[in-house]
Symmetry: C2
Subunit: 419 residues, 2 copies
């Protein structure tokens, strides 16, 4: 059997560690030159496959590939582009297979979240129907931590470490000034549908009374009266109150609080502004001065504070994807399997893409306290290992020293294709 | 000469390294028990002196005092409380002296910015008039970096390192997705009157085309047309555009842009929202999707990413304050004196409080490029050394392990005093 090429694409929102997965995958592929020829990466994700815009990673040095482990963002570009159903958009899938055929792609690695696993699964189906031999392996990645069949998703642990650290640090700031100045601090975090990132903020509160005092989950319908009463009690007891709020906080009817509240001068809803909406509510009801922060992309790109556990898992999953492919395991996703909480032990496993595609893992109800404002011990036991360990990037001139690859294109062989 | 006690207070907004100054000061004072009795700290800053709410730092172990070096926020509490003029509020100053007398305070260390240096200077004056012997020494601290007679101000270097790192990391995120998704990213940073922090963001752009692409300084009146044209050019050239904007960005008439733009549903001006105002302007004019982040307290409490240079200077200034006091140098502030840019060399010096009080150091005009949108090489040469070096805090359970002191009160000896 002669060596066939591999295609790798990054998909959806990028993270602090998705390049660690790319690093592991390319390093592992290079160990098997008799089985795997070149690893081609899709420029800007799957769009690069459709447009035949492939990057030849074999032109990057081993040293530069190693540096991917400590570089945030998506080194080859990513995109939010979901291939539609096989029935209505069969041409797109056929195009993918054409491109694979033109470049002798025998391995398809798709590094992303729910939608991407769905696409990888569909590609494996159409390839089979078309009689084109390709092994399709999904590699998990999402800060939302909502893929099933894996203990956690690479990218999440580092966001978790970042938001918990940030709200702890801000808490030390607020408590210093609270007697005569700002008593309220609100941090808005990502996670529109699931409260995993909000929950992670709760890790900073190891003892009663420590920040964050209140967590506002997307899973818990916002009750303004109960919230304000809790803030009031907090300020009376501790002198200040810190809140972590999910961008996806909604009311009982499922409407986003960010959209229900403030509008700008042009009448636009303020997206990414739920932090300010709940802070302003406190000011209106209790007359307390507030500060708020919006972490936005900072939280998912903060490689300088990545979790070593997350990094190791991200890298290991890239390695495992290649190993699975070489074993001929088609239409599976590499997964993390938890063996023990403390000390945390995990191993790599795999699960069928068919069982993962479009299935969203919700946060268990027993991870949220009965009052809806904090995490339980069970949640803490789950989250804690995921933020353990540090592996700072190299610094140069006082700043993290990240790599930009050369990203040289593979010559095209096919006619253009519009996406 | 018998040992007399010292009084130390933290003032104004806290920083990632103000406790490193406290650490150096207390450690140095403990080396001279024959000269300095106990170091009392004001609970919540100077208010603690007025209300005779003193903290006995001698009850904290050497190990815990050492841990102050890696703990953000103000360990004894701080406040924004400016003593008024000697003429109209003489009673306050007399009260301070009374408290000093009651607790045999022979050394007054005030750790803060412009207002605090003014207060320290006035205290030295009134003490002299009242014939009370006390050595008053100012210790600089302000993320605003606007004190004269010192090369820089402790706290600034760490904010500078944080914002430059953050916008670099966010840039790696945005460029990954820009082809098909968000092309615009805006980071709003502190610095209402001076653009030092905004300028520091510029350090991340080492080569042409690297983020941040545009800096919006409080010193440069905002020109919406020129700004939008520059964003447009950037997106056309690089495919995306990242912007760092000062919370103090103003128009030609000096009105804050944050207040000119958006209002919330209640008609309140959005403070802390200039980032969104300029991002929304881009969306309205160019139709480009944006993300924005508001670093707020995160930037000044991010001890996990502190500059080692900043930490070393903060600690050294605490040590120097004690040494100056023991030399009997009254009414001075300890300062940092730059000896060379590269390699950066500095030494401790001092300057009269009278020349510092209420004097604001502006950013030199030659630090901003002629188009008003970036920093010059001269600015880079000044800023670069201040962010050099890392000294991460210890981590426990995946999070920075910070200290909370016991902060035990000194028994009161005087009647209450209302502030």
């Amino acid at each position: 059997m002669s060596a066939r090429n591999a295609f790798y694409a990054q998909s959806g929102g990028v993270t602090a560690v998705i390049n660690a997965t790319a690093c592991g995958l390319i390093q592992e592929a290079r160990r098997f030159p008799e089985r795997i020829g070149k690893v081609y990466a899709g420029r800007d994700g799957i769009i690069g496959a459709l447009t035949e815009d492939l990057i030849d990673t074999s032109l990057e040095s081993d040293a530069d590939i190693a540096r991917l482990r400590h570089t945030p963002g998506g080194a080859f570009g990513s995109c939010r582009y979901k291939l539609k159903s096989l029935e209505t958009h069969r041409a797109q899938y056929e195009r993918l297979i054409e491109v694979f055929k033109a470049h002798d792609i025998g391995y398809f690695f798709y590094n992303g979240g729910n939608d991407s696993m769905d696409t990888a699964w569909k590609v494996s189906q159409i390839a089979e129907k078309m009689g084109y031999p390709v092994v399709c392996v999904g590699v998990p990645k999402t800060v939302d931590n909502d893929l099933p069949h894996t203990d956690c998703c690479p990218g999440f642990g580092s966001v978790a470490k970042y938001v918990a650290t940030s709200i702890r640090e801000a808490g030390y700031d607020v408590v210093s000034m609270a007697r005569t100045s700002t008593k309220i601090f609100v941090l808005e975090v990502m996670g529109r549908h699931a409260g995993w990132i909000t929950a992670a903020c709760g890790l900073a509160a190891e003892n009663n009374g420590e920040p964050p005092h209140i967590l506002l989950f997307p899973e818990v319908p916002f009750n303004p009266e109960a919230f304000v009463a809790r803030v009031d009690a907090c300020v009376k007891q501790y002198g200040y109150c810190t809140v972590a709020v999910s961008e996806g906080l909604s009311d009982a009817e499922g409407r986003l609080i960010a959209e229900s509240g403030a509008k700008d001068a042009f009448g636009h809803s303020q997206l990414g502004g739920v932090g300010q909406v709940v802070a302003q509510l406190i000011k209106d009801k209790l007359g307390l001065k507030y500060h708020w922060a919006l972490a936005d992309y900072l939280q998912r790109s903060a490689r300088h504070l990545a979790s070593r556990t997350d990094l190791e898992q991200a890298h290991a999953l890239g390695v495992a994807a290649v190993d699975l492919a070489l074993q001929g395991k088609n239409a599976v996703m590499a997964t993390i399997c938890r063996l023990a909480d403390e000390p945390y032990r995990w191993e790599i496993s795999d699960a069928p893409l068919a069982e993962i595609a479009n299935v969203e893992r919700k946060m268990p109800a027993e991870f949220i306290t009965p009052d809806g404002f904090h995490i339980t011990e069970a949640c803490r036991a789950y989250l804690q290992p995921l933020i353990e360990g540090e592996e700072p990037p190299p610094f140069r001139g006082g700043l993290p020293d990240y790599i930009r690859l050369k990203n040289i294109a593979v010559p095209k062989k096919l006619p253009a294709f519009a996406v």
